[in-house]
Symmetry: C2
Subunit: 316 residues, 2 copies
């Protein structure tokens, strides 16, 4: 039996997971990031201990504990180096959990963890080399090569969202201009839609959808309006897809995986998005005649974080 912890900006989810990636018990608390790292660490330790007890009551031993974080950890699973949403820099999460629990602890980026979950019981199951892309507030990535997590020589790889793919009208939070994240995240398309609404004189259904209050605009509304034929919404989607196509083709031209899975909130736009992306990717792949990566929508939902984190030890 394994324990998986999925630390997010709003909630911390934890679960007992069996060898096949089935969640046999789960629990969730609010993150309340503002209270600071030490309080959160205390809660996490408490949650893990309660799950260890539950497992023991059923006669099960915990093999390892995995944690998904919205940021980056060191290769040894000792420190979380950086989690902007949580305000964490160089916090000794793994180190402290190892001391406290005397169990193997693994920490990885949340997109990597979701990618593992997809390859355990989702759409990338059976493929040895897969890339998982999350389209949410930002754009995240997880890379599995030869059946193992690939996070680089120093643990700072798979930052697909910060691949520079063009020039944009606003800078990325990271300070650079042209990051994939600034073209293809939910944040990016909302920003571009607002820009178009202000600058161009289209009739758009979006204004009705938000009752003329652009603060209410979200990515689902944009995709829904695009599906309904709204011109402005389609312009927004086309731009988002163009750069996502470039980003994915770059990954194919460099890494040539077996398969690429697209997940995260924006991927709920479904086949409407997927078909456009596939068409766009095919324009930019270098060896068009050769077999190259298939592109799918991710299959797993909210539990992916727990499942992938739990089985991290098997992918290291």
């Amino acid at each position: 039996m394994y324990i998986g912890v999925d630390i997010g900006g709003t909630a911390i989810k934890i679960g007992l997971v069996d060898n096949e990636g089935n969640i046999v018990y789960k629990k969730q608390i609010d993150t309340k990031a503002k209270r600071g790292y030490l309080e959160i660490e205390k809660d996490i330790i408490g949650l893990i201990k309660s799950l260890i007890n539950i497992a023991q009551d059923k006669g099960n031993k915990i093999k390892s504990i995995g944690i998904g974080v919205p940021g980056v950890a060191d290769l040894e699973g000792n420190k979380v180096i950086y989690c902007p949403n949580l305000g964490w820099t160089n916090v000794p999460l793994g180190e402290n959990l190892k001391k406290e629990l005397k169990l193997p602890i693994y920490i990885e980026n949340d997109a990597t963890v979701a990618g593992i979950a997809e390859s355990i019981k989702g759409i990338t199951k059976g493929y040895k080399n897969s890339i998982f892309i999350t389209l949410g507030t930002g754009v995240g990535g997880g890379i599995i090569l030869g059946g193992k997590v690939y996070s680089g020589a120093h643990g700072i790889g798979s930052e697909i969202g910060h691949m520079i793919v063009g020039e944009n009208f606003y800078d990325c939070n990271c300070g650079n201009n042209g990051c994939l994240e600034t073209f293809s995240s939910a944040t990016a398309i909302i920003k571009y839609a607002k820009k178009l609404i202000k600058e161009e004189k289209y009739e758009t259904a979006l204004l009705k959808k938000v009752n003329n209050d652009l603060m209410k605009l979200n990515s689902k509304m944009i995709f829904d309006s695009a599906k309904e034929g709204d011109q402005l919404a389609n312009k927004v989607v086309d731009r988002m897809v163009r750069y996502l196509g470039i980003g994915i083709a770059n990954l194919i031209n460099i890494l040539d995986p077996d398969v690429i899975a697209i997940g995260g909130g924006v991927s709920k736009a479904g086949d409407f998005l997927l078909e456009k992306v596939k068409k766009e990717v095919s324009k930019y792949v270098l060896y068009k005649e050769a077999k190259h990566a298939e592109i799918f929508l991710a299959e797993l939902g909210n539990d992916a974080g727990i499942i992938g984190a739990a089985l991290l030890s098997e992918y290291k």
Copy 2:
């Protein structure tokens, strides 16, 4: 003992190479690509047979034969899928050599092969994860992960030159716009220098260097003039370096290798180029505080193709 064959657009080089990557005998013929594939294949087979005899005369057995091509081969080393400079599409080079010579045959992209050579006895020796970038007529790439060649799930990876990193004033030969190759190859900087000379009214030493005949312009002249303080030449170099910096930072943010080596004709600009590239890369790397890949100039010269090809079997 191994045999390495380096097939280029102008010359075919072949060598007998020992376990440590030392060339003990070598030979070279003109490619004369226009005569077509079958004639060239015949010559290659002849050359290899003569080297097998030389090895046998000295009491050495050939373990395997490796071939570097300016293009892409299938994963099995049977077919060369595409070599634009040679006019080859789907030629059965590996298949035919295996039949004729009854020895293990490996075929890889020439940049990958040069990357292997650097990791055998060049600047990336001792590193498990390295990326080799050649800056020449085009921009090529070779990726070594965990001490093995990484060419992808279908053998079409490591095409670093066709990573799209911006928007350019002319299209790439591949049909796309914004490929790294169109910013940072010798061809690219010559093109941009010509554009600036035509469009802008700089005084430039370049015009003197080519006796007002822009057909004579080459990348060495541009770097030499930049080193001498020529304003236009520096503008050309700065643009080239900017996009190379973006491309390398993209590789670090995604693949996070131990080390990156820059080779090819343009790399002869030396530390003048290297220092600028390092500075530019550091702007675009996401985790600036974390340890990340060191960047070096490649060390090996013309023989890299033979050495890397010869020892391909050890890196597969």
